[in-house]
Amino acid sequence: MAEGWPKQRRVLGSKVRRLDGPAKATGLAKYTYDINRPGMLHGVIVRCPYAHARIKAIDSTATRKTPGFRALTILGVSRDGVVVAVEGNQLTYTPAAKKKAGQEERITVTVNERVTLIKNHKVVSLKEVQVGDRLTIEVEQDAIGRELFFAGEEIAAVAADTEEHARDAARALRVEYEVLEHVVAEDEVLKDRNKRTVPAPSNYSEGKAATQGDVEAGFREADAVVEATYGVPVISHQCLESHGLVAEWTADGGLTVWASTQATVATAQQLAARFGLPAARVNCITHYMGGGFGSKFGPDVQGFAAAELARRAGAPVKIMLDREAEITTAGNRPSAIGTVKIGGKKDGTITAYAVDCYGTPGYTGGATVNLNLLPYVYTDAIPNWKRSHAVVYINAGAARAMRAPGHPQNCVLTEFAIDDLAARLGIDPLIIRRKNLPPNNPKAPPNSWAARRNTIYNEQIDIAVQLSRWKEKWHPPGQGNQVGSRRYGIGMALHTWGGFAAGQPNECFVIIGRDGSIVARTSTQDLGTGQRTVTAVVVAEILGQDPASIITEIGESRFGQSSGSGGSTTCPSQAPAALRAAQAARDELFQKVAPKVQADPADLTIAPGKVVDRKTGREWTWKEFCARLGMEEARGRGVWSLGIANEPGNEDISSGQVGGVQVAEVSVDVETGLVRVHHIVAVQDCGLVVNRLTCESQVAGGVIMGLNYALFEECIRDRVTGRQLNADMEFYKLGGLGDMPKITVHLQDMPERGVIGIGEPPVISTAAAVGNAVFNALGVRVPFLPLTPWRVLQTLAQGGKIR
């Protein structure tokens, strides 16, 4: 069996400062947005101003004459082909993508200034073209007739010498539109399910449904049944560093990009595929990254456009989205609105749960909840349930994964109903939660989630109850403390998540130099999660060093294999890879140096700052020992993946599945409708903690994002114009320091379960806990997030009774 995590841990699990903290806090860290390359041009994307339209005419003549203009690409119309004839200004070619097997298509183009020909990554004139050449051909007029499905959809991209000139050039592109009917509100689709304003056959798509047990019998058995409709809106990722990249073609035909991405390797691979380059000729660099939250997994339209413009202009090009584009095009979290019926007994047993929900992923995409996980954490305990989901398409940017996709929605659709049922039964909702926790599976491996989940949740609830003083603070809904017009309340919610290693292999390399220096190298990216420091902590632990002395080289696709940072998979993939790499480098160091110091490698061991011969008691300082490498160095490679994690004996290196309990304490001003959150307790199980400082930061950060979901965030679209009204940071609200409660984070260490990713779980249950606390304060359910003053007052005005 392979060597696992050290039993005696010196650095692992302690609080280690972020290695890149000083560089980031003083603005010296260079993010993608900060990259300025010699001769770099600025790119701007021309976007559709209408929610649904068709291009009637397009003319770039004026654009090409603007000062500083360097390159233009009309998006989505270029084709690759092989030249079969050149006559006068006529070019005839065979498209690379054939229509049908055996049927050769020939296309003839009249080449003028609005037709672009690219050969060997350079723009060429017709004179430079010969029969047999492989070209990329872009005919501007081919954009005519293209249907555009949301305000902000990309049409063209321009590059110019300055950003100001690029904006001028973009504005000068003449595009005429035929404006088509649009829908930007889910309820309009529900009123007319036959609408068709999106690529799908209709704006309404009946989704999946499933049933277990006998739901009607379950409701008959119940002492109380509650039915209500709850919902969460479409929100936006709002990464502070917007999406984008800098593309630079190298003199030898390779491509280097600095990308704000959660996946350096996938971004490089996609660019290589698009431009017909060997993957090894593309290097994607992400040394620092300003937030992604699930929305940044590839070059994206703007990334391909920047690389395209760069090869046309023969100069590096930077395209970073402006804030409006960031919000409208680079990722929405889908909405979810569900009618929930729940029944239960006086002892808290839930007898039946039924949810019928819908949501919108924008103009295309799939389900907006995680339907297989409803009624969420209680699924395996509730005997009778029924769930169904429909997808409603609207003319808005497409959904992207957002921090625990589907889970915050699931959590609201389940946890709100539980508190409403408890109120009807006249019991503390804590009783229902405890009563319906999923059972432990005695047949599962002893340290696995399945074997322990009931116990873990119960412990978490105990801890949360104690830290929040639940017993003292909980009261029947609407019957708590009041001070003036403020009513106080407390609420709870539970969540679950995976956090396993990624399916794809993740590599890490450790190189020990003869000067004793240690390099840890991996292509993975640090989104702000602290992954760079995690890698250093692991290597430092194994090699007896201070984490700050480890030279971390991360975030370049050429550094090896790694997966995208999604699903909380990075730490459980990369920490074990770093462990294996450090162990392998140490073993090679011992193998190479042992003969030179007349020792047996098997007797050598590492202590802090030194190497010890256990047999003779001899010691060398780390530097002394490494100096014996002579002209060599010691290298180790580590690789980890879900497959390796699942091999017998590896379950204590990394695993997955976590739970979590959060409690929110709020007050609501019944005159102004303002909700204030005073305290949030977050209890999170987290396997083996690598860096306690950044782990706690992740949990607190998740809670704050969840608080934003609860109180502030919503994409608001104008039904008439079809445009988003708050595609900015002024009217799209995010909390500031003054809006923040006290946050108590409790990490439930379980080192025997190995490393588990926890980036996502802490965000899930906060909004549901806050919503339940508002219910507890008012005695009236405010059913839709965010809990704005308007929604609170509206709920109270519509017959909500308060004491």
Binding site: N36, M289, G291, D322, M729, E730
Partner: protein, 160 residues
């Protein structure tokens, strides 16, 4: 279409250094610093003076550099987050942020740090509430406010 008057030569004093460049009058101080002078500690995020990521000190006052034209900043003392580390030694404000882990992705951090530095320069005895008010115009998306409060508390205890 009109394209405004052409670029003009300007000199800006940034972090104690005199820097010259050519910018059109429409260029903001933020864009002049980032795109023309490669001073990128001030970040562009919201495009409209609502997030605070572009905060710099102009004659000691915290200013959203996206809301000031570069031409207006001529002759003024401009300081960015990069000035808060000298010879590898961190100013107490970024030092407290690092110690308390009051940053995750770090994109908003220079703006917070500069705003706090300006507030403490103005009043070294500022209270925690006063320092919180000094960053009321800054937004963090990763959610580092809990750690930021700890950093602020440490700064107040140590007198900035």
């Amino acid at each position: 279409m009109a394209f405004g008057p052409g670029p003009v030569r300007i000199e800006l004093v940034v972090n104690g250094r005199k820097l010259t460049t050519q910018v059109e009058p429409r260029v903001t101080l933020l864009d002049a610093l980032r795109n023309y002078l490669d001073v990128t500690g001030c970040k562009r995020v919201c495009d409209r003076g609502t997030c605070g990521a572009c905060t710099v000190m102009v004659d000691g006052r915290a200013v959203y550099s996206c809301t000031m034209l570069a031409l207006e900043a001529r002759g003024k003392d401009i300081r960015t987050a990069e000035s808060l580390v000298v010879g590898g030694r961190l100013d107490p404000v970024p030092e407290a942020f690092v110690r308390c882990d009051a940053q995750q992705c770090g994109f908003c951090t220079p703006g917070f740090v500069v705003a706090l530095r300006a507030a403490l320069d103005k009043n070294p005895q500022a209270t925690e509430a006063e320092l919180e008010a000094a960053v009321a115009g800054n937004i963090c998306r990763c959610g580092t406010y809990e750690q930021m409060r700890q950093a602020i508390a440490q700064l107040v205890r140590k007198g900035g």
